[in-house]
Amino acid sequence: MTQKKANAVLSVEQVSKSFYVEDEPPILALSETDLEVQKGEFVAVIGPSGCGKSTLFNIIGGLIPSDTGQIVVEGKKTNGPDKQIGMVFQEESTFAWRTVEENIAFPLELAGVPKQDRIKQAAHFADLVGLSGFEKRYPAELSCGMRQRVALARTLALEPQILLMDEPFAALDEQTRMLLGEKITEIREALDQTVLLITHNITEAVQLSDRVAIMSFRPGVIKRILDIDLPRPRGPETISSDKFGHYVGEIWADLREEAARGLRESERALADEH
């Protein structure tokens, strides 16, 4: 079913992954998953908790090996972390011992960019994510959302073609999340990036994406891909439109089943323990 399009910049081909935990049946986190992302596209992968989203993210990023299948970036099979891919993690990932500026400049420093230049670059990316004026602060002095933006700016500093994000806004309140979503869309346009966003938030997926891939729960596999045909930029009018609501409803209808199954299974697992 992998009909190759000429300009797919990232493709996930038949990727499976199982986890083996002692004394328990293996967990099939991903089962022969396929996904293609076109150049410049914004794709969201949505699914219930524990369905294998982070596993997919880590495999695409080359951090964990898959059992079967492959990741292809610009026609080339990857082997470990790829230069074109930048990752923003689900968990807190800023460096507590570095200031905002030093955090953002980190990849530049290791790439051997001279100090003057990387400070200037860091200031630019700090500005891009709305953190101007906080360059000299340490992460502990910032809010959760600001720290997540530091991590984003640090990843952006190397100007990756493909931006992979694993629930970067999960810990944030709704308003901040929506504003940051707008920011991400602006940045993507400014940097001409391809974005793959992992999320469990339906509104966020519809607000930001060109396409939404819906994942099923155990085995994790992409169940359906929905095109989001809404004009950009997607301001408050778009978000309150009927069409937006219709997309949200449609995704929820699909996810509901999966989420309910996930809940049932975790309840059963709990019952088995007792």
Binding site: G61, P81, W97
Partner: protein, 267 residues
């Protein structure tokens, strides 16, 4: 910061601010001064004989006397030299072994309870072993203090390196750093505060070991001087020496505490 205080904005609020920032320190100093005053008073009022308990004023006089004839400085220099040697060795040994036990999970797990047991065992139990091994020499003292200092450094180094979150390491991988770069640029700075608190503990333990073993072996340093003064029933001088040893460890604690706060600042 444009919050206005309701009171008058002059001295009182500045005093209050100072109090709030340093209240625990000030309270501690206050209690200390109070205890000294009671101590002094109990002797000058005749509640306690001054042959049993030297008053603080007498301790200060004895301290001046001991400093003047050079005995104190000589003893201090000896103790600090031994401590320095032991600390240097403990750092090298402690960090290397801690690193190896971090790298090798099996050995790390195997050694952890063993180290904990040594760490928790009373120090004097070790003295005879070192005396037998090295004789009544300074090497015995250095060796004992090195071992005592190394143990918390080993344990904390391993613990600190292990406690670095996987996500931080993955950030390095995603930037395609080499494992060596990840170690030096991510793991070490992330582990630094916990590692340093091990070093701090090691230093305190080494100091304890040095002074106690000096006391026992009668070789030199603050410990030996104390044992000599005790032996000669020079009570005020004994008190003065104890006080200076306490001040020394207080200073060591303060200094390392300051460094520790600098390292883990903003976390």
């Amino acid at each position: 910061m444009s919050i206005k205080s309701t009171g008058s904005p002059g001295t009182p609020s500045r005093f209050l601010k100072y109090w709030h920032r340093h209240n625990s320190t000030l309270l501690g100093l206050g209690i200390f001064a109070f205890l000294l005053a009671i101590w002094e008073a109990s002797i000058s009022l005749g509640w306690v004989s001054k042959f049993v308990l030297t008053p603080p004023s007498g301790i200060i006089q004895a301290l001046i006397k001991l400093s003047k004839n050079g005995e104190l400085m000589d003893a201090l220099a000896t103790t600090l030299t031994i401590l320095g040697a032991a600390l240097g060795l403990a750092l090298v040994i402690g960090i290397s072994i801690g690193f190896l036990l971090y790298k090798n999970e099996l050995w790390g797990k195997a050694f952890e309870p063993l180290l904990g047991a040594i760490f928790a065992s009373p120090l004097p139990l070790m003295f005879p072993i070192f005396l037998v091994l090295f004789g009544r020499t300074f090497y015995a003292i250095i060796c004992l203090a090195t071992i005592y200092g190394s143990i918390p450094i080993i344990m904390n180094t391993r613990e600190a390196l292990l406690s670095v979150r996987r996500t931080l390491i993955w950030v390095g991988r995603s930037f395609r750093l080499t494992e060596v770069q990840i170690f030096w640029k991510i793991i070490v700075p992330a582990a630094a505060p916990l590692m340093f608190s091990g070093i701090r503990m090691g230093l305190i333990y080494a100091l304890l070991g040095v002074v106690a073993f000096e006391f026992l072996t009668d070789l030199g340093g603050l410990g030996r001087l104390l044992s000599e003064l005790n032996y000669k029933f020079k009570i005020p001088e004994s008190f003065a020496l104890t006080a200076s040893t306490v001040m020394l460890s207080g200073f060591v604690l303060f200094l390392t505490g300051w460094i520790e706060r600098r390292i883990s600042n903003n976390r």
